[in-house]
Symmetry: C2
Subunit: 367 residues, 2 copies
Amino acid sequence: MKVGGVAYRSIWLEPDGRSVGIIDQTALPHGFVTLPLTDLAGMCHAIRTMQLRGAPLIGAAAAYGMALALASDASAANLERAASALLATRPTAVNLRWAVEALRRELAAIPEARRGAAAYARAEQIAEEDVATNRAIGRHGLPLIRAAFARKSNQGPVNILTHCNAGWLATVDWGTALAPVFAAQEAGLPVHVWVDETRPRNQGAFLTAWELNAAGVPHTVIADNAGGHLMRKGEVDLCFVGTDRTTARGDVANKIGTYLKALAAKDNGIPFYVCLPSPTIDWTIESPDSIPIEERAGTEVSHIAGLTADGAVVSVRLVPEGSPVANPAFDVTPARLVTGLVTERGVAEASREGLLALFPERSGAAA
Amino acid sequence: MKVGGVAYRSIWLEPDGRSVGIIDQTALPHGFVTLPLTDLAGMCHAIRTMQLRGAPLIGAAAAYGMALALASDASAANLERAASALLATRPTAVNLRWAVEALRRELAAIPEARRGAAAYARAEQIAEEDVATNRAIGRHGLPLIRAAFARKSNQGPVNILTHCNAGWLATVDWGTALAPVFAAQEAGLPVHVWVDETRPRNQGAFLTAWELNAAGVPHTVIADNAGGHLMRKGEVDLCFVGTDRTTARGDVANKIGTYLKALAAKDNGIPFYVCLPSPTIDWTIESPDSIPIEERAGTEVSHIAGLTADGAVVSVRLVPEGSPVANPAFDVTPARLVTGLVTERGVAEASREGLLALFPERSGAAA
């Protein structure tokens, strides 16, 4: 996607052929900063502090992290160290584990001398596949928006509610939940996006609003509390969200608060779609209670950074001293609340049968 | 309740017998500031800008506003002007209308020379009745907490989730939703309160946390998004919230986001109680769609004030320039999601029949 007329992805190989460039997402929306990462420690730091985030993107980032590690030491011992360090950064999104384990397995099988180059090639391939996958998610999601437009007797715009950021910044490019929105924009279908602020880290207000602004997509930022009211008032036609991990039976872990919006959508008969690339499916688990839910620092709730009238970015305390804070970063939306899973192969019913119909090669996987 | 060892109410008659003292709630939690209000304009400003807020409190404040107006001009024309000005301040809470109309009706019936004194006396009476009412709400809510404690086999604490601020700052004293919590504390029942931050104005983080801190009640501040997850995990035993207007059939308008928590409570089999003094019941309406929902300034979403590391309170911009914002301040929770209405006369089923059983004198009211 373009930023100030220049095409960007959220992660790229720098011209030196070794370091990895990223957009520092903690500086958005008030500043646009790119960072070159030169080693594994830098990549682990970037993932942990959410300089880059989004399940698909941290999958690609972890692959590049493996490459950065092997560029300096391609030994089997370092391969294991790098994999462990990356796996310890963030627990909920499964894409990271998927990418790390793929590279660990594949690289261990080839001679040490070729591991570095192979790691970069594989990271590049994962990034390219993510872009193609998201384009396909956009193509499969577009008819859902078109159908909503038809239900409105072609009186637009189609009002789409989204939570957190599942736009191009959460992936290598195009996004998951926003891919159908960008596809609708390309197709000339009128859309308007309700952007949940998404406390505590405000990825909606900080990232999704910034993306939609840059792309010229009409949108309105709302407090997370407002979505239910808007649904009751008939002001939401569709919900599209992303996911960090989807169970084999279609339960969806996503940014904290997603479950509340799914309940409201169900209560008001509004379709609730989850958009995901297949590496986000954890075929090894059935029960949503098996998904580890990351508990992040309380300072993400007690403090927030914003722009002062003087143009400085300042962190301010919101919660009084002496009041404890809890900060679970994800919740689970049960499959029964999900209208459909929009994948690169099409729209699946949120069930074991629905997923296996699209991914029959998984039908032998452990139940 | 006590602040720094000194007993306070949220509104009081100053020693001059004419001006009205309030706690400036927009300065909390980082500063404790009291303001003397000397005229109607000051009171209207205080209500509109939420220097004082909470349905029961703005009822009492409106009564004092009438008194302030009549102290300088007790004419029938000024009585009407004062009533109109106060009614225009905030549309959703019905207590304000109830108090203004009571004073307008009663004062119009007495000689002009006695109206000023009568207005102060009536305002004082409304304030005193609110305190007694909230004490009674606390008494009727306490057995619900006791029952939850028993369900936990007397293994405490009872985890209570609340939204916004329905504590003593939202009333003249004691609060509505927090009255049972304070009663439990007095009774030695172990409680812990999950405090929804309550975007966009953060009345949970700013006011409820401050109140509970001051009262020594164990609590934890969470993002509004977190409540559903905590309920799914079994970490919420009860929900207690307030309301700004309740229909004659038990639907409840309250701070935006209440509906989402009620849905989650229902989905997880958790009792969801709404605590209210009877002046919050609007016996004239049946349909929740008849409740006017206040749309407040977008700057409440796009900006927030907090404390810098230097100890200054600074407003910062959160939403990027160019992104529009919407800010509906209330939503409606349908009666079907409400376990019970805790009033000064006891706990009513959230239905026309349930309310009339406690308030039989209303059975002749318009349907």
